[in-house]
């Protein structure tokens, strides 16, 4: 199977706001459940181990007209909660048995309460991750939270999560993360062979299909992309930062590439690589999930950085690992986490003589010309002056 065929399949999943693939999965066998979740991170292993499909809800994108959702939010609040409400109100999520709202910001946090009031028949839960990273303090708290989440999922699905099932799920997600990191590494090495818009679609498809199918899809794509011959362009290598929650329209991702940038790292759809190392399969599995989160997860704006000297370190490391020449800070409008973090990250990169630009978008941004011009000028300036 060639990359085109795989990408076409992913595009179809991405375009389908009725989530047909997930609906069909649920309908195929009695007892199957679907658990939706918002960005940025939930332990999908726990959902999978309960014989449920983790369904990533990343808003409505740019193809959905938001009518009802706008009645719930003021103009100065980002778009993802309003389009998510639109998905709910229009029945597109009527097959979802439980919704998880992880800690990202106050908007998503408050959306968990709105969901409880609007959809009282759906189990809705705010999922808090610790901001204290000491195993004895934040770790103990998080293990209890995971246990509570596990019990809530068991209750919602009617399926007991056994150690054996959880171990198997962790194994599958370890493989998934390994494949994704390997794909990201391949792109950093040969970005002309791994266009970011294609990888993005692959990541988005992974939020709607079972993990084992996604693993196979990733393997097929990586093999096919390596085998294909694509021309190498004289593009600038950039890291994209700030797009971890509300996602940009696909055209925006394409526009950045068309403007002469190779995106060698990004923070789109972070849930599938939030953990940077394997979760151990031996011993207490909840403790393992907790410790891996505490010790081996990405630095992103929704996590506190306890030490000043560590702020922005992850971004700088990624820039170095991916041999990037610049950073594009692309944040959704009104996104507190990304926009509050941006000055600090921007200081870090400029202290290291790494050029950067920034712009804002919404998931339904339509005008790409200004983005193309800004990204194109940035790419040219890197080539000319860096």
């Amino acid at each position: 199977m060639g990359t085109q065929e795989i990408v076409a399949k992913c595009q179809a999943i991405f375009d389908d706001l009725n989530f047909t693939v997930a609906r069909e999965w649920k309908a195929a066998k009695p007892g199957r459940k679907v658990i939706g979740f918002m960005p940025v991170y939930v332990p999908m292993e726990l959902i999978h181990a309960a014989n449920a499909l983790p369904l990533g809800i990343m808003g409505g994108g740019d193809s959905m007209e938001v009518i009802h959702g706008d009645a719930y939010y003021q103009s100065y609040i980002c778009r993802i909660p309003r389009s998510t409400i639109e998905l709910g109100v229009t029945g597109r999520l009527d097959f979802v048995d439980m919704m998880l709202f992880p800690f990202v910001c106050d908007v998503i946090r408050n959306l968990s309460g709105i969901w409880k009031m609007m959809f009282p028949n759906v189990v809705s839960r705010f999922f808090d991750t610790p901001q204290n990273f000491d195993e004895k303090i934040g770790g103990t708290y998080y293990e209890h939270e995971l246990l509570e989440l596990k019990e809530a999922i068991e209750q919602a699905t009617g399926n007991k999560i056994t150690d054996e099932a959880l171990r198997n799920s962790i194994k599958l997600y370890n493989e998934n993360r390994k494949l994704i990191w390997s794909l990201y590494d391949s792109r950093a090495k040969e970005p002309w062979k791994f266009p970011t818009w294609e990888i993005y679609l692959l990541m988005r498809a992974g939020l709607q299909i079972p993990v084992d199918e996604h693993n196979q899809m990733l393997k097929d794509y990586i093999a096919a992309a390596h085998a294909e011959d694509k021309p190498k362009r004289d593009n600038s290598r950039i890291v994209l930062n700030g797009s971890f929650c509300e996602q940009p329209p696909l055209n925006l991702i394409k526009s950045i590439e068309m403007a002469g940038c190779y995106v060698v790292d990004d923070d789109y759809v972070l849930v599938n690589r939030f953990l940077t190392e394997d979760v151990p399969l031996e011993g207490d599995l909840l403790k393992n999930l907790s410790t891996t989160y505490l010790k081996h997860s990405v630095e992103t704006s929704c996590k506190y950085v306890p030490k000043e000297e560590d702020k922005g370190k992850y971004l700088l490391n990624r820039i170095s690992q991916c041999q990037a020449e610049g950073v594009i800070f692309a944040a959704p409008s009104f996104c507190d986490p990304a926009l509050l973090d941006r000055p600090m990250l921007s200081h870090r990169v400029s202290e290291n003589n790494i050029p950067s630009i920034s712009f804002k978008y919404a998931e339904n941004s339509g005008q790409m010309q200004p983005i193309r011009e800004q990204a194109g000028t940035f790419a040219d300036s890197i080539k000319l002056w860096s």
Binding site: Y73, Q74, C105, V107, G113, K116, Q131, T140, C302, L340
Partner: protein, 429 residues
């Protein structure tokens, strides 16, 4: 433009003003006195613990409010925006950062000294976390965090409580001991908390007097003063206990004489509308904003903002018998740390308990913690109580987002709506 008339002030207001001035003087003279300064937040304020180490409490939110009321915040915000801070984010943060960029002058005209420690008591607002990362970048001083889990399911759990207590015991207290050079004394903490509870009893008495008709207080504009000592650097002090004694006396006098609240232009005579308000006030045009209410005979009888630094009217008191656990419960219970269904329940209860005519939401442009979900909340409260709701939009300390004509227009329409609703009820009867 004519100059504003001098505001009428009660004895309690003057007393509080002197307390605040003394605290600013103590902060700005830290180099002379050798006392250490802690910067921290209002919700999740651990003032008793700070005092156990003889440290001073400096609150960036209060400084931003002061800057807003003194018409300085607009310039500070633009200074921060010039430095790369987004126009979309919290204006308290930008006022604070802009103030630093312009010399960090305290309200007493002296420069704020750098804090010795940042205590990030992270309760009910995401922005706090980033705010102190930003301040840490500027001050390069030690930072200690207390992560307070959100009440997502509308209640607290033992796990949440244990997590906070552990952070206090194993991180906050040892860090304070190191910075201050003083050993932690739990008996002193108990003693301070006993005073806190006394002041909290009195505060609750004060805010519940709004159940009287006429209400002797304004529970939004006036309550901002009433909660001041407890929400800021004075909870646990004898000064706070004494302040509430004076305040209670004043209010009792107004109750006995069927008087209304004291506004900047004197006693409010006529009370045509009893309103519950959700959301913080605007500070840049505070007096003008308040005037829009009392000119129309609208008195606020309950507000959620006056619970942002503690929900004492829902029964919580600092408990000297369980000091650390009690601090944990305090942090967990602050208004914006409660989920939206609980916030709706609280507002509904206020409408009923205070026999209010309706719910007004002042939605703050740059405060997602309060604002995200308020439209849904308003509709839900309307549905449950049958009382009309209204929605206005302003900002905390960014004067660019206070449109007096728009706000006034909406308020007047709202009061007319209440009037019509009353007439409808009467004619139906």
């Amino acid at each position: 433009m004519s100059a504003e008339k001098e505001a009428v002030k009660d004895e309690s207001m003057l007393l509080q003003k002197a307390m605040i001035s003394r605290n600013y003087d103590a902060i700005t003279s830290k180099h002379e006195t050798g006392r250490k300064v802690v910067s921290t937040f209002v919700p999740g304020n651990l003032n008793e613990l700070v005092m156990c180490f003889d440290m001073l409490n400096n609150l960036p939110e209060i400084n931003a409010i002061q800057a807003g009321m003194r018409k300085l915040s607009g310039g500070y915000i633009m200074e921060a925006e010039k430095g790369g801070h987004s126009e979309d984010v919290c204006t308290y943060v930008k006022a604070d950062i802009g103030q630093m960029a312009r010399g960090n002058i305290a309200p007493n005209g002296k420069p704020f000294p750098d804090p010795d420690i940042l205590l990030l008591s992270y309760t009910g607002c995401y922005t706090f976390m980033k705010w102190f990362e930003l301040l840490r970048e500027q001050y390069k001083c030690p930072t200690v965090m207390v992560h307070v889990p959100y009440q997502g399911d509308g209640h607290t759990t033992q796990n949440m409580r244990d997590y906070i207590v552990k952070q206090l015991k194993e991180e906050v207290i040892p860090t304070f001991e190191r910075i201050s050079g003083k050993k932690f004394d739990i008996d002193l903490l108990r003693e301070l908390m006993t005073r806190s509870a006394k002041a909290e009893d009195d505060l609750v008495w004060v805010i519940e007097t709004a159940k009287h008709k006429p209400s002797p207080i304004d529970a939004y504009f006036g309550a901002v003063y009433y909660v001041g000592p407890i929400f800021s650097a004075f909870r646990g002090t004898q000064e706070a206990v004494d302040y509430y004694k004076v305040l209670k006396k004043e209010i009792q006098y107004r109750i006995d004489n069927k008087m209304g609240p004291i506004t900047p232009e004197g006693e409010m005579k006529e009370q045509k509308y009893r309103i519950v308000v959700e959301g913080p006030p605007n500070w840049t045009n505070y007096r003008e904003f308040w005037k829009m209410f009392y000119d129309e005979g609208a008195v606020v009888v309950a507000s959620s903002y006056s619970k942002v630094g503690g929900t004492y009217d829902m029964g919580f008191r600092h408990d000297p018998k369980n000091p650390l656990e009690s601090l944990a419960d305090y942090c967990l219970g602050c208004y914006t740390n409660r989920n939206l269904p609980t916030r709706v329940d609280i507002l509904e209860k206020y409408i009923n308990d205070y026999e209010a005519d309706g719910l007004l939401t002042n939605s703050i442009k740059s405060c997602n913690s309060f604002s995200a979900g308020q439209l849904m909340m308003m509709r839900e409260v309307e549905k449950r109580t049958g009382k009309p709701g209204a929605f206005i939009e302003t900002d905390l300390v960014d004067p660019r987002y206070f449109s007096a004509a728009n706000v006034k227009n909406r308020l007047e329409s709202y009061f007319q709506m209440i009037e019509q609703k009353r007439r409808g009820v009467k004619s139906a009867a």
